[in-house]
């Protein structure tokens, strides 16, 4: 598996789906396409709404490193990094019909580790070539 290390910066949500599809293509991990698409869509949406407070002029940066069967993703927003972000372990009975609150939980489900440090979400996922 070839090492890939790149960084993409963009603003707002107008073009993020295309950018994410380009990253998936660049990584050549077709069998993990759904998982990577979901992780990045959730992380970018979180960065835009909660980090950048829906300001479409503020940048979001995606960094991705694929090396030795481990995919490391970073999604950095332009916020002050002081928000207390809790990543849920489960969806409780009382939260089933909440309008929101599922995005970070889904990132956890589809990755091996996820952590928010200041204004950057660090995600890792084991992948193997097919």
């Amino acid at each position: 598996m070839e090492t890939v290390q790149k960084e993409v910066m963009f603003c707002g949500l107008g073009n993020h789906q295309v950018i994410i599809e380009d990253i998936i293509q660049d990584l050549e991990l077709e069998s993990y396409a759904f998982d990577i698409r979901l992780i990045l869509m959730e992380a970018v949406t979180n960065a835009y709404y909660h980090g950048n407070l829906s300001d479409c002029t503020k940048p979001i940066i995606i960094r991705y490193l694929l090396c030795g069967g481990l995919l490391n993703l970073q999604v950095e927003d332009s916020g002050d990094g002081v928000r207390d972000l809790q990543i849920p372990q489960e969806i409780g009975d009382g939260e089933l019909l909440e309008d929101g609150g599922r995005g970070l939980y889904l990132i956890r489900c589809f990755s091996d580790s996820v952590e928010m440090i200041r204004n950057t979400m660090f995600i890792s996922k084991n992948v193997c070539a097919h």
Binding site: Q17, R37, E42, L96, L97, R102, G103, Y105, L106
Partner: protein
């Protein structure tokens, strides 16, 4: 009142969810409260899409209606299952 069937888009995320919400709200404001969402063409959904469906489901249920889901792609079903929404929606 008859059930309205709505074909879901291939990607059901931020932009598509917004358009979908507007469409269903228009139906609800005209008195229609029961829907079948047909996912046969939908291969991706995220938490934004789920949130919109749940929000509209609550509005329908408040008015005696419901939302049922049809033809879920395995990956889309997995998202509903992980978030335990398979316990909420009837899947046909």
């Amino acid at each position: 009142m008859n059930e309205i069937t709505i074909d879901m888009p291939a990607m059901f995320s931020v932009e598509e969810a917004s358009a979908f919400r507007d469409t269903v709200k228009t139906y609800i404001s005209s008195g229609q409260t029961s829907f079948v969402l047909d996912f046969k063409n939908c291969t991706f959904i995220d938490s934004t899409g789920l949130g919109v469906i749940v929000s509209l489901y609550k509005k329908c249920a408040e008015n005696g209606g419901t939302i049922r889901l049809r033809s879920l792609h395995p990956n889309v079903y997995k998202i509903f299952e992980l978030t335990r929404l398979t316990n909420v929606f009837e899947i046909i």
